[in-house]
């Protein structure tokens, strides 16, 4: 029984992630549309897009190689594995011992890297441009991510995500400390950069010269494109979910019971929907920054992460 629920939680996390990701994107577009005075295409539209793309004919551009073919599946796979590891619904799963935050961060980077290689593999100017920019941004995000990990791991004494989350559930004061808040801010900026959102990248741009993520995937069509889009949407959901798990952990199942799992799923949906709405609303107010202003943004988030580390060390009485 114990194992059944545990595995159910893992499968549930992956299913919620995969099924919910397009809905989250649809929801965010809907929020944005309403703020812009439009009617919007409905929350289900990304699922319709995916369905249609899966029905379309797969295309292999001549001159591309295995990296181009494998990247979409790898992108989705890394997100699925990371999604199975982090405690989105439950902290007590059979895999929770493996859920190391550094591993999760590295898995997400692996997906980025696969897509960048695919962009270079096409040999088009836009593919290379997207890959180059994406890797630049990704390499600058890395210090922020790892320092945030560092800051979060100090009070918990471990980098194990379920341990951090359950620790936070039991002593909520940790979250309201300066260290916690600074780490949230730093991680939030890093998440924006990792998921190619405004102000780092504009997900709905049509101008190739301003693209980062889109430029890498210009050659994908049909089912491959469906996987790429799904992968990107799942990544957004995963990272927003991780953010909510780390900083609003209440409701995540810590024990093993079916009810708590269902409650956790509902609360997860609510939390991510709220975060998504906030993000979508913020995107209406912000503009994309110039590519060479992005380092400033990331340097700022790095500073916040560093302050989080020092604050958690000095203020919370490690001495």
């Amino acid at each position: 029984m114990r194992n059944t629920i545990g595995y159910a939680a893992v499968v549930g996390q992956v299913v919620v992630l995969a099924a919910g990701a397009p809905l989250l994107t649809g929801w965010m577009r809907q929020v944005r549309a309403r703020l812009e005075g439009r009617a919007g295409a409905g929350v289900l539209q990304p699922w319709r897009d995916t369905r249609k793309l899966l029905r379309k004919e797969p295309i292999t551009p001549v001159g591309t190689g295995p990296a181009f073919r494998a990247a979409p599946a790898l992108l989705v796979a890394t997100t699925v594995v990371a999604g199975a590891l982090v405690p989105l619904l439950s902290t007590d799963t059979p895999v929770s011992g493996h859920a190391d935050l550094i591993v999760v961060v590295a898995l997400v980077s692996l997906g980025t890297l696969a897509l960048a290689l695919a962009g270079l593999d096409t040999g088009t100017a836009f593919g290379g441009m997207g890959a180059s920019r994406e890797m630049t941004v990704a390499s600058l995000v890395e210090p922020t991510l790892l320092l945030s990990v560092f800051a979060l791991s100090i009070p918990a004494g471990t980098t194990n995500v379920p341990a951090i989350v359950s620790g936070a559930i039991h002593s909520p004061a940790r979250l309201a400390s300066p260290a916690g808040l600074l780490a949230v801010a730093a991680l939030a900026v890093a998440v924006l950069a990792e998921t190619s959102r405004i102000p780092v990248d504009n997900p709905s741009t049509h101008l190739e010269l301003t693209m980062i993520h889109e430029a890498m995937v210009l050659e994908y069509a049909g089912p491959d494109l469906a996987l790429v889009e799904l992968g990107a949407q799942m990544r957004l959901t995963l990272l927003l979910g991780l953010l909510s798990s780390l900083f609003v952990p209440w409701g995540i199942a810590t024990g093993l019971s079916w009810t708590s799992l269902v409650v956790a799923a509902v609360l997860f949906a609510v939390k991510v929907a709220v975060l998504g709405a906030v993000l979508a609303a913020a995107e209406v107010f912000w503009a994309k920054v110039r590519l060479f202003r992005v380092p400033e943004l990331l340097a700022g988030s790095f500073l916040l992460a560093l302050l989080a580390v020092t604050a958690s060390y000095f203020l919370n009485g490690a001495s």
Binding site: R55, P58, I59, T60, P61, V62, G65, P66, A70, P72, A73, A77, V80, V81, G97, H98, D100, I102, V103, L107, S109, L110, T112, L113, A116, L117, L120, T122, G123, T124, A125, G128, M129, A131, S132, M135, T136, A138, S139, L140, V141, E142, L146, L147, V149, F150, S153, G157, T158, T159, N160, L218, G222, P223, A226, L291, F292, F302, L306, F314
Partner: protein, 689 residues
């Protein structure tokens, strides 16, 4: 007990035979025989190393071998680790080298001298960790330096290439690299000599056992001086910034198998020397030693990888990446010493284990990377990424192996580099429990620097793989490339097997690593438990089982490709032209080159890199408004070299000129100098005593 001396004796015998064979045999036979014998040296040395890792130890004194002191030798697990790494790399690279030198013709690596020196270099790589006395160590160290110098210079005439084209870069760069290498390595030797002489004089003996026993009686300032001298020499050998200047010159110019040996086995010995003297012989030291190492490590990691990001020469890129990885190792060693200085032995053991594991991992993937780069060089005569490209279709095995090694180098799962970096990060993250302001300030910075270097490393190897091997060829030579011959592929496959094993089951290495860490007096298995599949930290809830990560990823890939197929209409996959914006087929010139790929990073780090560019516009003769030609030059010089070395060199040159003025040629003048010197000395004695 008996395995180690027997193996070492075999290695020595094989190396001697190899040297003779290299001198005597005709070209075709020579390459094969020397290759096999060198591989034998590697296997024998590796066997000895593995035996030492397994727990056996050995010590001996051969009083006749070295005048005055006699040769002291000893093998413990720490030495064993480095011997095993060197041996394994040697065995695989020697096999690769047979194929490489065969194609090369009787020049370059195939030449008589190079083939005679190669086995000796191999032997020295295996034997340096065996030395157990200062004189023995320095002799072997110098042997290694000299033989490697010979090999770096092997292609000074310009290697002969199978396609009958001359190499892109002529021999001047080889000669220049040789000069830099010779000067820096010998300055290092001088420092080593000074440091060890001081140490031995104070400890009252030159065997490592005496040094170890006498280290604690030495006054702290002298100990500090010894450490600084020795550390400068060893970090220079390891290619740490700012003493790295020889590395990005010598490694690219050496024949590729030699580059692989230097980057994967020789630089490690710098780390070995540092661990041996700093942690073992001197028995640890005050925090400032280790803070210095941490600073050096962080600087090397970030600066090395930044230069690698700017490099468009494939082998130069790999050389700078060596600098980066040695920086990471130095960070681990520094953290280990720092924790030990503050009394946290288990954490110190964890940091050292991470550093040593990274040495092993780096050796595996870097040897493979250099070999793959060598295959590319041999097939195309090109090292310039801007001209390569499209090799994945023409050299599929080489490309796949390069990709595998690159995965290790970017330190992402499931690569092997990730495991050691994970351990290193864990040791740093949990290091905050160690008291001390310096620790609290330095550790977050170290984590940030490691993270930055890892992030940029990802960009670097995406560039190397994506620009160098993917897309389309940008040069006819790259378009005409053919897969490397079977022997080279065999050597690379051996290395690849090592990379895969290290990536999937690092636990196999566990006990050996514990013993190696234990050899310097830290509790080997105090902080780590090596399960069958992975690593687990003892006091902290953290574990990593790479095999499971790989299994999960594979399952997820199957799921991600399979599920859509079930739903989709199963239309046939069709081929289509690349989308060209409707403007006609994109030419290879339109693809992104390495330089353009690195451009955003270069702009971000403008202040650090200080690139130089100049635009030269030539108008036509008739009118100043019509442009005939625009020349744009852009290069990213090694700024540290620029700022640090050139002033020193200039100062040296002017001193030289001044000295010439002093040396007037008159015998009286020289005698006068001697007399004045004597008087001054006596005066000093009178005043001093």
């Amino acid at each position: 007990m008996s395995a180690i001396p027997a193996a070492l004796a075999t290695a020595t015998a094989l190396a001697a035979t190899g040297a003779l064979a290299g001198l005597g045999l005709p070209y075709r036979l020579r390459v094969a025989v020397v290759g096999v014998l060198t591989a034998g040296v590697g296997v024998a040395g590796g066997t000895a190393g593995v035996a030492a890792l397994g727990g056996s130890r050995w010590r001996a004194v051969y009083s006749g071998l070295v005048p005055l002191a006699g040769a002291h030798v000893a093998v413990d697990a720490l030495a064993g680790l480095f011997m095993a790494v060197a041996g394994a790399v040697l065995a695989a690279v020697a096999v690769y080298g047979i194929g490489y030198a065969t194609g090369h013709g009787a020049h370059g690596l195939g030449s008589r001298t190079a083939q005679a020196v190669l086995p000796v270099f191999a032997l020295s790589l295996v034997l340096v960790p065996v030395a157990a006395a200062v004189s023995t160590f320095l002799l072997l160290w110098e042997l290694m330096a000299l033989t490697s110098l010979f090999l770096v210079l092997a292609e000074h005439r310009g290697g002969h290439l199978p396609l009958g084209r001359s190499r892109e870069r002529g021999s001047p760069s080889v000669r220049q690299a040789g000069t830099w290498y010779a000067v820096m390595t010998h300055l290092g030797l001088v420092l080593l000599l000074a440091g060890f002489a001081l140490f031995a004089a104070q400890a009252g003996g030159e065997t490592f056992a005496t040094l170890r026993a006498g280290a604690h009686g030495i006054p702290p300032t002298v100990r500090g001086l010894v450490f600084v001298l020795v550390a400068l020499a060893f970090t220079s050998k390891a290619g740490a910034v700012p003493l790295h200047a020889w590395l990005p010159r010598a490694h690219p110019e050496a024949p590729s198998p030699v580059s692989a040996l230097m980057s994967a086995a020789m630089v490690n010995l710098g780390i070995y020397g540092l661990v041996r003297t700093g942690l073992d012989l001197l028995g640890g030291g005050p925090a400032w030693w280790w803070l210095g190492l941490l600073a050096m490590g962080g600087a090397s990691a970030v600066y090395g990888i930044l230069q690698a990001a700017m490099a468009s020469d494939l082998k130069r890129l790999l050389a700078y990446s060596t600098s980066e990885n040695m920086g990471l190792v130095l960070t681990g060693v520094g953290a280990s010493g720092l924790f030990a200085a503050h009394g946290d032995k288990p954490l110190a053991a964890l940091a050292l284990a991470a550093a040593l594991l990274h040495v092993v991992n780096h050796a595996a993937f870097k040897a493979l990377l250099f070999c793959a780069a060598g295959s590319v060089l041999r097939a195309t005569g090109l090292r310039d990424l801007d001209r390569l490209g499209g090799l994945r279709a023409r050299m599929p095995v080489t490309a796949a192996l390069f990709a595998l090694a690159a995965l290790g180098a970017v330190a992402l799962p499931p690569g092997n580099g990730f495991i050691s970096e994970w351990l290193l990060l864990q040791s740093l993250v949990h290091g905050l429990a160690v008291p001390g302001v310096a620790v609290a300030v330095v550790l977050p910075l170290s984590v940030a620097l490691i993270a930055l270097s890892t992030g940029i490393a990802a960009a670097v190897f995406v560039k190397a793989l994506g620009v160098g091997f993917f897309a389309r060829p940008r040069d006819e030579r790259a378009a005409a490339a053919r897969e490397a011959p079977p022997l080279m592929l065999a050597g690379m496959t051996l290395l690849a097997a090592g990379v895969v094993a290290l990536a999937l089951v690092p636990g196999l290495l566990g006990h050996g690593l514990d013993r190696a860490v234990g050899a310097v007096g830290l509790p080997g298995s105090g902080a780590l438990t090596w399960g069958g599949l992975g690593v687990r930290l003892t006091d902290i809830s953290a574990r990593l089982e790479p095999l499971w990560v790989v299994a999960a990823l594979t399952a997820a890939i199957v799921l991600a490709t399979g599920l859509p197929r079930l739903y989709g209409r199963r239309r046939r996959r069709v081929n289509a032209r690349l989308w060209d914006c409707g403007g006609g087929a994109p030419t290879p010139r339109m693809t992104y080159t390495a330089t353009s790929f690195a451009e955003p990073l270069q702009r971000v780090f403008d202040d650090v890199l200080a690139p130089e560019q100049d635009v030269d516009v030539t108008p036509v003769r008739e009118s100043a408004y019509l442009v005939e030609r625009v020349r744009f030059q852009h290069r990213v010089p090694d700024r540290i070299e620029h700022r640090l070395y050139e002033p020193v060199l200039r100062a040296l040159a002017s001193t030289g000129r001044a000295a010439r003025r002093l040396a007037g040629g008159s015998v009286h003048l020289y005698l006068g100098y001697g007399f004045a010197g004597l008087v001054v000395l006596l005066l000093a004695l009178v005043v001093g005593w």
